[in-house]
């Protein structure tokens, strides 16, 4: 039982310790997507959700209900498409 408990404790600690890194990564990504939307002149007061569709391809949902498809096209341009 003791090894099981220690392994479980280690797993929990590892997950909890890595959680802030993931959260920080998400925060920086959300900030990046929100700035990208704003640079294209489209409204988004607060980003509440972002879903990764593929490489350089995201779907972002804003608090005001707007949803955007943000991706890089074949010519290397950032496209923000309102859904």
């Amino acid at each position: 039982m003791a090894p099981r408990i220690s392994a479980l404790t280690l797993t929990v600690v590892t997950l909890l310790g890595g959680a802030p890194l993931v959260a920080a990564d998400d925060a920086s990504l959300g900030k990046d997507l929100k700035a990208t939307i704003a640079l294209q002149g489209m409204p988004c007061d607060q980003l509440v959700e972002s879903k990764r569709n593929g490489d350089s391809d995201y779907t972002a949902s804003c608090k005001d209900g707007n949803r955007y498809h943000i991706y890089v096209n074949a010519q290397g341009r950032v496209i923000v498409q309102k859904l």
Binding site: S28, L29, D32, L33, A35, T36, L39, S56, G76, V78
Partner: protein, 242 residues
């Protein structure tokens, strides 16, 4: 027992030696303190008349006595007599006064030995005065912000204040603006319209907004280079060299 005795003897000897040196040093202190107070009260018992007039001169006007003493000493130190001695006598005044007070107590022999000591003290501070006024007016660096487009571009690429998508979006908009200038300079009119200036200002405003919180130094550098960059864009010859 012998060792203890020797050690005790050494300790007593060292303590007594230190006590004797301290006694001399402390005895000098009270002498100075006493010399400061009693000279006015005990001028009569001192037999030599030469010492009493200086004491009266010091008690009445210290400056007059010092000035009268310094000219008598300056002939010895005549080689370096620039215009500054008027400001310098103040530090020498205390020394000369203290020396004269010590001379009163010790006697005429000591008074004869003191003046040569004070006279070399005067030329020592004199050389320090000419070196002071020189370096003030030399520092006039007009630091104009020099434009380094390559450095700014590299700093924009490396900054962490902007995400990848945002950087790519900015690059797209910069490329769009540069293409607009290229189209303009292909035609007959080489003067950029106000619309391009507005686009340029708006793009720079976006960049500054993105950078001002995450990378203030880079934002400041770009902001200070605003007109320099525009001067390059608005000049067809300079623009062709980009």
């Amino acid at each position: 027992m012998h060792r203890l005795g020797i050690a005790g003897f050494l300790v007593i000897l060292s303590v007594s030696g230190c006590a004797s040196t301290k006694g001399t040093s402390t005895s000098e202190g009270p002498r100075v303190a006493q010399a400061a107070v009693p000279p006015d009260s005990t001028p009569q018992p001192i037999p030599p008349p030469a010492s009493t007039p200086p004491s009266k001169a010091e008690s009445s006007t210290d400056n007059g006595s010092d000035q009268s003493s310094t000219p008598a000493k300056t002939p010895d130190a005549a080689p370096p007599p620039p215009t500054s001695p008027a400001a310098r006598p103040s530090p020498a005044k205390g020394k000369s006064a203290g020396d004269s007070r010590l001379a009163k107590q010790t006697g005429a022999a000591a008074a004869q030995t003191r003046p040569p000591v004070s006279s070399p003290a005067l030329p020592a501070p004199l050389p320090a005065s000419p070196s002071s006024p020189a370096p003030a007016p030399t520092s006039t660096p007009a630091a104009s912000p020099t434009l380094n487009l390559a450095d700014l571009e590299q700093r924009l690429r490396e900054t962490r204040a902007i995400g990848v998508f945002t950087k790519l979006s900015l690059k797209n908009q910069v490329d769009d603006l540069l293409n607009a200038f290229r189209d303009l300079y292909r035609g007959p009119n080489k003067h950029p319209p106000a619309e391009l200036r507005q686009r340029y200002d708006l793009l720079l405003l976006k960049v500054l907004t993105l950078l001002q919180d995450g990378d203030p130094p880079l934002a400041a550098a770009i902001s200070s280079s605003r007109e320099a960059i525009w001067s390059i864009l608005a000049d067809p010859d300079k623009f062709a060299k980009i």
